[in-house]
């Protein structure tokens, strides 16, 4: 796993010199302990053919190693559990004799110019990242404030000094003038760790530095801890204890070392950490790339993806918790918990964030912040509030196979039901409303909703939304198409085109014949421009065919709405309407005419012509709604129906009727919400 840290290292540096005080795990980096066996095993494996070219290249060796890890997953996993630093050891190979502590110490004891900024160092295939922090030691920390422990520490330090420990010990006995020291908490990572993972570790190091700075200035905590670590080193080195033993002892004696150890362990297991330094300052941190794997194995969610998802957060979105209420609290410092409880009290996956905000009496901005936090910490996910009309389908990367642990988990949760039986209903896009009938008991719907929520929590299902694209398939184009085809055939007279062209010619003839019949339409156009006049109406058979298919597609797209009036009805209706406007000279109709013209001004000439061909374009209400939505940019495949409904305060049926009326210029299709889908691993 390239996410896990290989080690955490604490280096300290002041005017007297530098020293590596603590690191975890204790095996020296790069030293081969139980390596002989696994390495041999690795060498025997068939190597990645792509590594052949660079046998001397360390990065590739690591790659081939990870490759074989994939192949022999279980064995390798065991090994990894045995030795945390195994991958580093793996690159021994005589190239790197191991990093001696004093070498690391000089590398990480950075010059003051490099403090308070990101520090990244790559040594063969280990990447070190940190944020060196310069801390000024308060004059008189040791003596003045007189807190018992620090006084004791300085005393024993003096004792240590007496006993002639000449090493660059880290004592900072108050000299009366201000001293500077640099501490550097370094995380060692695999070189392949991605940029965003490195960034997260840098952030963690930065926060740790800041926390230690604060604690140092508050109570001299850091001075005391560092002194104790240095003392332990000196004492034990005299007794010639092995280094591992010394580090163990340090972890027993110093709470800071303890904290670093637990941080390293937490990062390797959950990616979530909450550590209290000096029993005072709580530091919480989340490594999203790791934390999100808890709910979905093998997923790599980097912070950028989460940010992208959260930037797209809208009031109509909903939230789905992934963990129990009790687990929520470990991601917030106790001080921030009150607001979170307020939100959790109002939590309901069936309602939108907006409603949750008003129920919880919080502002929507606060709710966004809380939800973003929960999502980042892998405690919640963003959904569209669960309702009957939502259309779900199996997620493309759903881990559905017979050996999946989810199968058992599901039947344990829903008394003996088979996950496959339930989820295969969603092989085709389906809504909850579709799966239940009024004849069934109402309880069944509740269970189904629970199951859908469960499947959403495990990213097995994905919601589909309907999007609209304004795209008049204009007659100009069509006509031009066939005309040019005809021309081409006239010029070249290719045999194999003949049949097709003949067809088209026939159609053209049909068009001409039908022109008189289309007069009504022409009239309806009013005083059309030259362009709209010249554009030929579509030949009837083709038109009918297109309409038929548009409707077909449309009924597919909206499985969940009430039956639409048949198109023939409507066109009859509008036809009479348009006739009546033509015949009737009342003031109203003239005003309407004017208004329609104004409304149509927003479209380009070609688009306008296409819209005018639609009967509903003579209805002021319909047209003005269309123009409004068009101008708001809702027909650019960017907004799904639910969003349009929410922001324009429309009912689903209203919107669907409008889309149906103008279906000749609109293309309607189903796809996933890109903001939410980005959290899925779409491969």
């Amino acid at each position: 796993m390239e996410v896990n840290p290989l080690a955490v290292i604490l280096v300290y540096y002041d005017s007297k010199g530098d020293r590596l005080l603590y690191r975890y795990p204790y095996q020296p980096l790069g030293q081969t302990l139980k390596l002989e066996e696994p390495r041999e095993e690795l060498n025997n494996k068939k190597r990645n053919p792509f590594a052949v070219a660079h046998t001397d290249d360390l990065l590739q060796t690591a790659n081939s190693q990870s490759q074989s890890q994939n192949h022999h997953h279980q064995q390798q996993q065991q090994q990894q559990q045995q030795g945390q630093a195994q991958p580093v050891q793996g690159q021994g190979q005589g190239q790197l004799k191991g990093f001696a502590d004093h070498v690391l110490s000089t590398l990480f004891a950075v010059k003051p110019q490099l403090c308070h900024q990101k520090f990244e160092l790559k040594l063969n295939d280990v990447r070190f990242v940190s944020h060196p922090t310069m801390i000024s030691v308060l004059p008189g920390t040791g003596t003045g404030t007189g807190s018992g422990s620090t006084a004791a520490a300085s005393q024993t330090l003096a004792a240590a000094a007496n006993s002639n420990t000449t090493s660059s010990s880290s004592n900072t006995v108050a000299l009366g003038k201000k001293q500077q020291m640099v501490i550097n908490i370094v995380f060692a990572l695999h070189a392949q760790a991605s940029y965003s993972i490195v960034k997260c570790y840098h952030e963690l190091s930065k926060r740790l530095g800041l926390a230690l700075k604060f604690e140092e200035q508050r109570s001299g905590y850091l001075t005391e801890q560092l002194a104790q670590m240095a003392r332990t080193h000196d004492e034990q080195q005299q007794e010639q204890q092995p280094l591992e033993r010394i580090l163990e002892l340090i972890a027993e004696r110093c709470s800071l070392a303890q904290a670093l150890k637990s941080i390293c362990n937490d990062l390797c297991t959950t990616g979530l950490l909450s550590t209290t330094l000096n029993q005072n300052l709580t530091l919480t941190f989340c490594l999203p790339a790791k934390a999100h794997q808890l709910h979905k194995k093998g997923s790599m969610v980097d912070p950028e993806t989460i940010d992208r998802c959260l930037r797209a957060l809208k009031p109509y979105h909903g939230m789905l918790l992934l963990v129990d209420f009790a687990e929520l609290l470990d991601c917030v410092p106790p001080t921030g918990a009150r607001m979170l409880w307020q939100l959790v009290d109002a939590y309901n996956p069936l309602i939108s964030l907006q409603s949750m905000a008003s129920n919880a009496d919080l502002s929507i901005e606060h709710v966004y912040k809380l939800v973003s936090h929960l999502v980042y910490w892998a405690k919640a996910t963003i959904i569209y509030p669960l309702c009957e009309t939502n259309v779900y389908v199996i997620a493309p990367d759903a881990p559905l196979h017979t050996r999946s642990h989810l199968v058992e988990k599901f039947s344990a949760r829903f008394a003996g039901l088979s996950l496959f039986e339930v989820i295969c209903d969603f092989s085709l896009p389906t809504s909850i409303g579709h799966l239940t009938t009024p004849l069934q008991q109402p309880a069944r719907q509740g269970i189904l909703a629970q199951m859908v929520l469960w499947m959403l929590q495990h990213h097995l299902l994905m919601q589909l939304h309907t999007y609209v694209q304004f795209m008049p398939s204009d007659a100009d184009d069509e006509f031009g198409d066939s005309a040019s085809c005809a021309q081409a055939s006239n010029l070249t007279e290719e045999e194999h085109d003949q049949d097709e062209d003949e067809e088209e010619e026939e159609e053209e003839q049909q068009q001409h014949q039908q022109q008189p019949d289309e007069d009504v339409d022409q009239l309806a156009h009013g005083g059309g421009s030259m362009l709209s006049m010249s554009s030929q109406p579509l030949p009837v058979p083709r038109n009918a065919q297109r309409r038929g298919l548009a409707e077909d597609q449309y009924s597919l797209a909206s499985d969940n709405i009430v039956v639409q009036p048949s198109s023939s009805h409507k066109s009859n209706f509008s036809m009479t309407a348009s006739l009546s406007t033509d015949n009737c000279d009342s003031l109203d109709s003239i005003e309407d005419e004017q208004k329609l013209k104004e409304l149509l001004q927003v479209f380009s000439d070609a688009d306008r012509a296409a819209i005018r061909r639609i009967p509903a374009s003579t209805n002021v209400d319909d047209l003005s709604l269309l123009v409004k939505l068009y101008q708001m940019g809702y027909f650019k495949s960017e907004h799904h129906l639910e969003e349009i409904m929410y922001f324009e305060n429309l009912r689903r049926s209203q919107l669907l009727q409008l889309l149906d009326k103008f279906r000749d210029v609109l293309i309607i299709y189903e796809t996933e919400d890109p903001a939410i889908a980005s959290m899925y691993n779409n491969k």
Binding site: L59, L114, Q117, L121, Y195, E304, D397, C424, A488, D552
Partner: protein, 402 residues
Amino acid sequence: MMHAHTNEGGPVASSSTGGGSGSASTEGKIRCIFLGEFDTTAGFKISCQVPENYISKEVFDAINVYIIPKPPLQRCNLTVNVMDVKIVGYPVGIQDQQKYTRNEFIFNLCFVCDSRSRSVQYEPVVKKLSEYLIMMEEESCFLSREDDKLRLQHIFETVLRDLNERKVATIVEGDNTIYLKIVMHKPDPPPVKDHMVPLLLANLRDTPLENWDLTTQQILPYINGINHVARIAAEADVETDLVKSCIQNLVYYGVVQLLPILKYSNVYMTQNLKHLIQSAALSNACRKYVALQPDKLLPSVQRIFQFYASMTHGVTLRAICQRLCPQHHNIDERKMVIFGLQHKFIRCIHKYPVFTGSVPSARQKMYTGLISFDEICCKTGLSPYTIEKDIEKDTNVTVIWK
């Protein structure tokens, strides 16, 4: 096999990763090359830098311990990324009691990149160039003689220019010829399976056939975006495993993309379809690509969009073709599907049979939910129809589409 691809790999790799790798880190250019030295009198110094003063004195003073590190770190690839520069180095110390005043000559050849760019690909190059310099130093004191810095500067200038422009550099210096080449590191390609269809990316069609290795030469004519691996193996008369590893190799170098097999019974689903309209370049490329007869009027974006938009769960390609008659609009539906898959407007919805009974027998063992329908057909050699019948009869098998 390797050689042909290292010749072709360079430019392809850069173009494909440039677009795909996203905002986080990019393949950056080399901004500067310098030689850091430990001078017995002056201490740490930059003795030659191209372009001049790219690394200022302040920056160098802050980082000189990483340029000339302690002896245990010599001959390691050491990259340091601080103060907005990323420096890839390979520190070297040459011991010689006669030649050097302190018995050792310490230097480090460094490439400098932007701090956000990837630099792994330069590590072998830095190492190799260092080895050349070590050799030249040992032979003729090329580095330690003061008067030769101009020649070194000339080498650096050439390397910087050629590697950035062509990713390959060849320099003749005295008796030595220096060959350098940047090889990209990419994640391992996925395993190739029998039922997958390789598609040759267009910009490689004009590479002369003899530049490829023998296996590739033999199978290349059969790679057309329609034939699947097993069929290519059969038609080219090459062993299947050989074809697979060859294609995997081509995938690694970005020459070939793997697509699902095209059947008229396939179901596709749109994703990010809006990119097709939002990018004029893409939609024009699409119109050209999908045209049935390129000499006729190209199909309109509207038609193409409508075609893609009608792809959804439960609608087979056959049904769409019957409804929209793409051939009447000068659209080749097969090319359309290929283009959509290639640019990820659409993805294929695969069928996965899952055995839900207790003890699977014979073929049921394959119904784990991990093996798609296409793969099963390929493995068993049975027609999709036979297997479909078989599954329909079997009450213990559920089919999942995803």
